[in-house]
């Protein structure tokens, strides 16, 4: 029995460990490296907690690090951090010239932060970044890099296995990004039933006008249609851009609820034009909110994508193409149907009723998340 008692604590540990084995999650050890390639500057933030592994920060051993202790150790801190970081160009290793030094804040507390001007031999641009700070202590430590330039920003992660990052700007990438997001835009419009329904209720009244107004109906229908589609497009492009570039962010549950409501309102408006007969105004107003809906999809696709502007342009164009394709195929069919009385008298109201019903159900479901 004594044998068993001896290993009891060991069992205690592992027993609970295995029970909780996968429940762990906590902010891991990360350094933040911001590289501004236009200004030729670099900033690095290292958690004080991590720095304490490398530098004797806690001189009085009270587990508390004060501002004074940090200040006293500044020379060792800078030397240590600079040793863990190397920028080089073809002509040789670049020098880091200190611009600013102090403390900064991230989600888990204070970091030691420093900003440098990058000075490479012969005035070259740096070609690669190598990072090795803390890798010898903590295999899970990472250097999180954000490279900013006038064409957007790129995110990267440096790890013990991959501690070097080439900085030469990629050439063929933007085209790939553009094409990929173009497809995403088309796909999203086609599978996003709410945008299609909204378009349908905007377009229905135009298609109904055809038999009523006589001779140059086709021409005027197309003009009206073009007006509506343009208004919708311009509006959602504005808000899509605002949201995608993070200038404006709305809570998604709100957006989706209002999108659902907008469909219902637009459908009611066909029969009872409470918001006026100028459908293009309605298309514009609600197009603004639909733009935020597109943006939430785009946002999910672009985490880690560098060329936000290119992605945005591709996605937006994709949405427009999807929309245009749908109209080119669908609108003539609707016009054709509109010559049929039963369609006007019964089917259109039935469609509208179904659309109102569906969208109100959506609105209720989505409002539950507000």
């Amino acid at each position: 029995m004594t044998g068993l008692r001896l290993w009891a604590p060991w069992l205690l540990l592992l027993a609970f460990l295995s029970q909780s084995g996968t429940a762990l999650a906590h902010k891991a050890s990360d350094s933040f490296i911001y590289l501004d390639s236009d200004a030729g500057e670099l900033r690095i933030d290292v958690a004080l907690r991590d720095l304490a592994l490398l530098v004797p920060l806690d001189q009085n051993q009270d587990r508390q690090i004060t501002g004074r202790e940090v200040r006293n150790q500044r020379p060792i801190i800078t030397r240590t951090v600079e040793n863990g970081l190397e920028l080089s160009a073809e002509s040789g290793v670049c020098r880091l010239q200190g611009l600013e030094w102090g403390l900064s804040r991230h989600s888990d507390g204070r970091y030691a932060a420093a900003r440098y001007r990058i000075v490479c031999p012969d005035g070259d641009d740096p070609g690669q970044l190598q990072y090795s700070l803390l890798f010898d202590q903590d295999s899970l430590h990472r250097g999180l890099v954000r490279i900013t330039s006038d064409s957007g920003s790129t995110l990267a992660v440096l790890s013990p296995d991959r501690n070097t990052l080439p900085l030469t700007s990629g050439s063929s990438r933007p085209l790939e990004t553009f094409a990929a997001f173009l497809v995403e835009g088309v796909v999203h419009l086609l599978i996003g039933l709410d945008h299609i329904l909204f378009l349908l209720v905007l377009v229905l009244p135009v298609s109904l006008m055809a038999p009523e107004t006589g001779s140059d109906t086709i021409r005027s229908s197309i003009v009206r249609l073009a007006g509506i589609v343009t208004a919708f497009t311009v509006a959602h492009s504005i808000t899509l851009a605002l949201a995608a570039l993070n200038l404006v962010t709305l809570p998604i549950a709100w957006v989706e609820t209002v999108i659902a409501l907008s469909i219902a309102v637009a459908a009611v408006n066909v029969i009872w034009p409470v918001l006026g007969r100028k459908t293009w105004k309605l298309a514009f107003a609600f197009g603004l909110i639909h733009g935020f809906g597109f943006a939430s999809v785009l946002g999910d696709l672009t985490s880690g994508v560098s060329d936000m502007a290119v992605a945005l342009a591709g996605f937006n164009l994709g949405v427009e193409l999807g929309q245009l394709g749908l109209l080119v195929l669908g609108f003539p069919v609707l016009c054709l149907f509109s010559r049929w009385r039963l369609y006007q008298r019964a089917i259109v109201p039935a469609i509208l009723l179904a659309v109102v019903g569906t969208s109100l159900v959506w609105a209720a479901e989505r409002a539950a998340f507000i």
Binding site: L12, F16, S29, R63, Q64, L261, F286
Partner: protein
């Protein structure tokens, strides 16, 4: 009377105004859209500028608090026993703080130690480490080696128990059952009984499993708190599965003996959350904001009870998860999915992460999260798939949303 179109704080936009006033909106439709656009500006921390560098911090201000443990020594331990002790200590700290840094320190020690001189104890420890990092295949491999080659009963039991738990968490109940059975042969007692009860409960027989283990615990004269706590924790799990109030009592007992057990703390907090006991949730998670699972449960409770601190915590979590996404860590899937579902109200995205999480762990809380996300996102395929999976094992759980329909 004028109808004010209040865009802030209202549930919907138009239900505030009676229908007859709607024509008055005619010219305003544009402004409604624009007004909404101005609502709630909040930048994404990933794209946002980093916080400014502050140079004039006060000398006397405490700018960081280090953990109570001594810093890791520079040199590698010289003997296997020293290394094992150190690694075990680090894993234990990771467990009680939820901080993955300790796992990184431990892994670094393993990397510097020659692979050929890993003894059985070190292999079990490395497997435990791998399991914590969701490297299940590697964990299984190391444990299998120990089971095959070790003559030391203690190490075999350790390996068997870890493997049984790994398979249970992964939802591979036949394998888990096999290991529990083998464990009972090697080391009969409360721990082996708990092992089998857990698997039996997940595979269609929670009622009998609970009763048997409860009787067994009551009649046990086991003096080792380890085994009793282990059984108590398991009883809590099964009681929760049965929807019994006793779950909270079992978990509280474990927690009072071992307050740093984050797994049990999260289970208990979740239990209270489900019952709308928000004050208990906030109390249980107090000063555990650094642990994602507890912080997310806390944020949900605050969100639902309109707690004054809810915005601060939500904002902090948003920043933390966006850093985690930048890092690309997969350890956060479960908590992130839950945050997306219950705080951000983004069921589609929640479903994506809940699904990824379920590929690695299939504990009842993971399954429930996936069911709820699929339901909220209206994804019938996933629901149908899960129903079939649950049916295959006869798994029922009072905490699952209605899966019958």
């Amino acid at each position: 009377m004028t109808c004010s179109v209040n865009t802030k704080g209202s549930r919907t936009l138009l239900d505030l105004c009676p229908a007859t006033f709607l024509p008055a909106l005619r010219g305003r439709a544009f402004w409604i859209g624009l007004g909404l656009a101005g609502l709630l500006l909040s930048p994404d921390p990933l794209q946002a500028a980093p916080s400014p560098i502050q140079s004039d911090f006060a000398d006397d201000a405490v700018v960081a608090t280090l953990p109570d443990t001594p810093p890791i020594p520079e040199q590698l331990p010289t003997t296997s026993t020293d290394l094992a002790d150190r690694v075990q200590n680090l894993i234990s700290q990771a467990r009680s703080t939820g901080d993955p840094r300790y796992l990184g320190y431990a892994e670094r020690l393993f990397q510097r130690w020659p692979e050929s001189s890993l003894n059985d104890r070190l292999l079990v420890l490395r497997a435990t480490l791998s399991q914590s990092l969701h490297r299940f295949e590697q964990a299984r491999e190391d444990l299998t080696v120990v089971l095959e080659r070790s003559r030391n009963r203690q190490h075999r039991i350790q390996a068997r128990l870890t493997l049984a738990n790994l398979e249970t968490v992964r939802g591979r109940y036949a394998e888990a059952q096999h290991h529990c059975y083998q464990l009972a042969l090697d080391y009969p007692g409360l721990i082996a009984e708990s092992c089998s009860a857990q698997v039996a409960a997940r595979t269609g027989d929670p009622e009998a499993a609970y009763r048997a283990l409860e009787t067994r615990l009551a009649n046990s004269d086991a003096k080792r708190p380890t085994a009793r706590l282990w059984a108590e924790g398991t009883l809590g799990d099964i009681a929760a599965q049965l929807g019994r109030e006793a779950a909270a009592r079992h978990w509280r007992d474990v927690l009072s003996a071992s307050p740093s057990d984050l797994y049990i703390r999260a289970q208990l907090a979740d239990w209270h959350l489900q019952r709308g006991h928000y004050r208990e949730v906030v109390a249980l998670t107090e000063s555990y904001e650094q642990v994602d699972s507890l912080a997310v449960i806390r944020a949900i409770a605050m969100h639902r009870s309109q707690h004054p601190e809810q915005d601060a915590l939500t904002q902090q979590l948003r920043e933390r998860f966006s850093e985690a996404r930048w890092r690309g860590a997969l350890l956060h899937q479960r908590d992130y999915a839950r945050f997306l579902l219950d705080v951000e109200g983004r069921p589609e995205q929640a479903l994506e992460h809940a699904w990824d999480n379920w590929q690695s762990q299939r504990e009842p809380l993971d399954t429930r999260l996936l069911l709820r996300s699929a339901q909220a996102a209206g994804n019938r395929d996933t629901l149908a798939f899960l129903r079939q999976w649950l049916e295959q094992y006869g798994q029922t759980d009072a905490r699952y949303p209605e899966v019958a329909s």
